[in-house]
């Protein structure tokens, strides 16, 4: 009798498990990725590239992870933290399995807080603020792209290797810009490079001619630009018209690539910049990615597309390797992950700060010959990861 009850109970439990198991499986018929990137306005071009890179990463793995199709849901962050949070909240309410984005560091820092509450993994492939993997770090956020500190290490090493002794800093006047410059100044001083002057034009400044005149009259042998997007384009266009780059080394963090070259035109030649990624990196994984990207989109992948592709491909590989639908398993696995299929070589996720250690690339704009773009970046320096990332503490 007792055995009979036990059998009945076991059968009920098994039945319930089967029912709940099938319901569970029915819920997981697709893996939803919520993308919160700028898709309009001045930074729309960046979000669009990230979208292309991430979608190609899924396509190149057969469109599936954990045996189910990967589905993207894209939202426009409008490059505003408030909008990014609203859109991310909406996506999470819709049941996304992970979030991807945002573009600006301010938006990413805002989204990180809500993904932590909901325990949804957030993959960052662009925002560079050190806070993201520093004091604001969360268990659920991972960055596979370059942080500010890494970019500044490259800038300082570039100045040192190219024999620059005196630097003039032109820094867009906003919080992250000033933080970046303070960080860079310390690194330049470590390399015995003197800062002879600095200017802080406001964000969205329309005219740099006075500052450019001051730089030209100074005895600086280089000018460090800490500015992005439209500000960098305006500075480079206007400084190119009076030949600044012919008289002094012009360099900055992400101030030049093939995308910026389209905006700056022939004033780009000779400008030096950090590169998050470059299509010319020669390894089988990158060559396959570049070929697929060209076939799908008819153009070469830019930095934003490359970083997005790499991060998404890596994260989905990790998810697949767990064989689990539990986000805690994904986070645990990603914390201890080494990605040797990266298009930039090998990337190692640091458990201490969720920042991927990776190589750094620095380039110079040169005139490209067809089929290359008219402004093409030539990789001039390549830095190993151990030179760019301080040891975990």
């Amino acid at each position: 009798m007792k055995n009979g009850h036990g059998s009945l109970l076991a059968a009920c439990v098994a039945g319930l498990m089967a029912v709940s198991g099938s319901a569970y499986a029915a819920e997981n018929t697709e893996f939803k990725v919520g993308g919160v990137v700028a898709l309009s306005g001045a930074y729309g071009v960046i979000g669009e590239a990230m979208q292309k890179g991430a979608e190609l990463a899924v396509e190149m793995r057969g469109g599936k992870v954990l045996g189910v199709p990967v589905v993207f849901q894209w939202e426009d962050s409008e490059t505003k933290p408030q909008a990014a949070v609203q859109k991310a909240t909406r996506l999470m309410a819709g049941g996304v399995n992970m979030l991807f984005g945002a573009v600006s560091s301010g938006s990413t820092l805002a989204v990180m807080k809500i993904t932590e509450r909901q325990k949804i993994p957030l993959l960052v492939t662009l925002s560079a603020s050190d806070s993201i993997t520093g004091e604001a770090m969360t268990r659920y956020t991972f960055r596979t792209s370059n942080p500010v500190n890494m970019e500044n290490q490259m800038m300082a090493k570039f100045a040192s290797r190219d024999g620059l002794k005196k630097i003039y800093g032109v820094v867009a006047d906003y919080g992250v810009g000033r933080e970046m410059w303070d960080n860079l100044k310390a690194k330049l001083k470590d390399q015995n490079v003197e800062i002879i002057a600095e200017d802080y034009p406001p964000l969205g400044n329309k005219d740099y001619s006075i500052i450019i005149d001051k730089v030209l009259k100074s005895d600086a042998d280089g000018v460090a630009m800490i500015m992005t997007g439209g500000d960098a384009i305006t500075f480079l266009k206007q400084s190119g018209q009076v030949g600044l780059k012919d008289q002094k080394a012009v360099f900055g963090t992400m101030v030049m690539d093939e995308l910026m070259g389209k905006a700056v035109g022939n004033m780009s030649y000779g400008v030096n910049s950090t590169l998050r990624y470059h299509y010319s990196i020669d390894n089988p994984n990158n060559n396959a990615f570049v070929k697929a990207f060209q076939e799908k989109y008819g153009e070469l992948p830019n930095q934003f597309a490359g970083e997005a592709y790499d991060g998404m491909a890596w994260f989905l590989d990790v998810v697949d390797s767990t064989g689990s639908w539990d986000s805690e398993d994904w986070v645990n696995a990603f914390e201890n992950s080494t990605y040797d299929k990266s298009i930039e070589g090998t990337k190692v996720m640091r458990k201490c700060d969720h920042q991927a250690a990776q190589i750094g690339v620095f380039g110079k704009a040169v005139k490209g010959e067809a089929p290359m773009p008219e402004v093409t970046m030539e990789v001039t320096h390549r830095f190993d990861a151990d030179l760019l990332f301080p040891a975990c503490q």
């Binding site: 309009s40 306005g41 729309g44 200017d199 005219d207 018209q241 389209k262 035109g265």
Partner: protein
């Protein structure tokens, strides 16, 4: 010193060119055209396209204002004309809606990527002026600003058309009674304002970024010029632009951290103490 003044004046003329269409439309029609920045953006993109097709900067500079003037006339005829007798808020909402439509149209036609309008031949390089290098294109910008300012002043103050324009705006019923079609006059003014926005977009394209959203970044500067100069006051807009250009030029040398503070404090004080503008001869005079 002279080099700094020259650079300051070139900064001023760029500001004036950006704001000229806005102040003209407000002065003559009483419409605060929020879509001014979007028309400026469209002007830059059309200039880029014309240059791409013809490889001629002159063609770009001529065709962009003409095409956008036509668009301006269509906008005035269909969208603004029904709103003149209504509250200003409705005009603001209409022009704001236009921004969204024009932005989306540019995105669909040209995409989100950056564009470049290169310097015209013979305008690259710089010339030394009293120890400063001034870009040749800057001299061209300065000359264009002076020409546009003088042309507008001449048109409004010294021609029969200008007289009709001023009369139609201040006493429309009387002008209508004299047999002049005030509606057409308004269309011409809006088209002219749109053409000025497009001209600004075309001449600014070699020195400023050309991309979707570029209009948003200039609209604040335009309003600073227009408010300091006096709403709708062309002469005031020129004076305000020169004031701001020289403030930036000398401020960058002597008090760089305070330029924005001085600019916006002046703006607030003008709105509080002299709302007709810093450079108005009298409250009622608009040209």
């Amino acid at each position: 010193m002279i080099g700094t003044i020259l650079i300051g004046l070139s900064v001023a003329m760029l500001l004036f060119l950006l704001a000229a269409g806005l102040t003209l439309i407000f002065g003559m029609l009483g419409v605060i055209n929020f879509a001014h920045g979007a028309l400026y953006m469209l002007g830059a993109f059309v200039a880029f396209e014309v240059y791409n097709q013809t490889q001629s900067f002159c063609a770009a500079l001529l065709l962009a204002p003409i095409l956008i003037a036509f668009l301006g006339a269509v906008i005035e005829f269909f969208l603004l004309r029904p709103l003149y007798d209504r509250d200003h808020v409705e005009q603001l909402l209409m022009t704001f809606g236009l921004i969204l439509i024009l932005e989306e149209a540019v995105r669909l036609i040209w995409g989100l990527g950056y564009r470049d309008l290169p310097l015209p031949q013979g305008f690259d390089g710089s010339i030394p002026v009293m120890g400063s290098d001034v870009a040749v294109y800057r001299i061209f910008l300065l000359a264009t600003g002076v020409a546009v300012g003088a042309g507008l002043f001449w048109l409004i103050e010294r021609t029969r058309l200008g007289m009709v324009l001023r009369a139609a705006m201040s006493h429309p019923a009387m002008v209508r009674a004299l047999g002049i079609r005030v509606d057409r006059v308004r269309t011409v003014v809006f088209a002219l304002g749109a053409a000025l926005a497009a001209l600004a977009g075309a001449v600014a394209a070699p020195v400023l970024p050309v991309q979707v959203g570029m209009g948003f970044t200039i609209i604040v500067d335009c309003f600073v010029v227009v408010i300091l100069g006096g709403l709708g006051n062309i002469r005031g807009a020129i004076a305000a632009a020169i004031f701001l250009g020289l403030l930036q030029a000398f401020g960058q040398h002597f008090f760089p951290a305070w330029i924005e503070v001085v600019t916006y404090t002046t703006l607030i004080l003008v709105l509080l103490i002299r709302p007709q503008g810093l450079f108005s001869l009298s409250a009622g005079r608009k040209a």
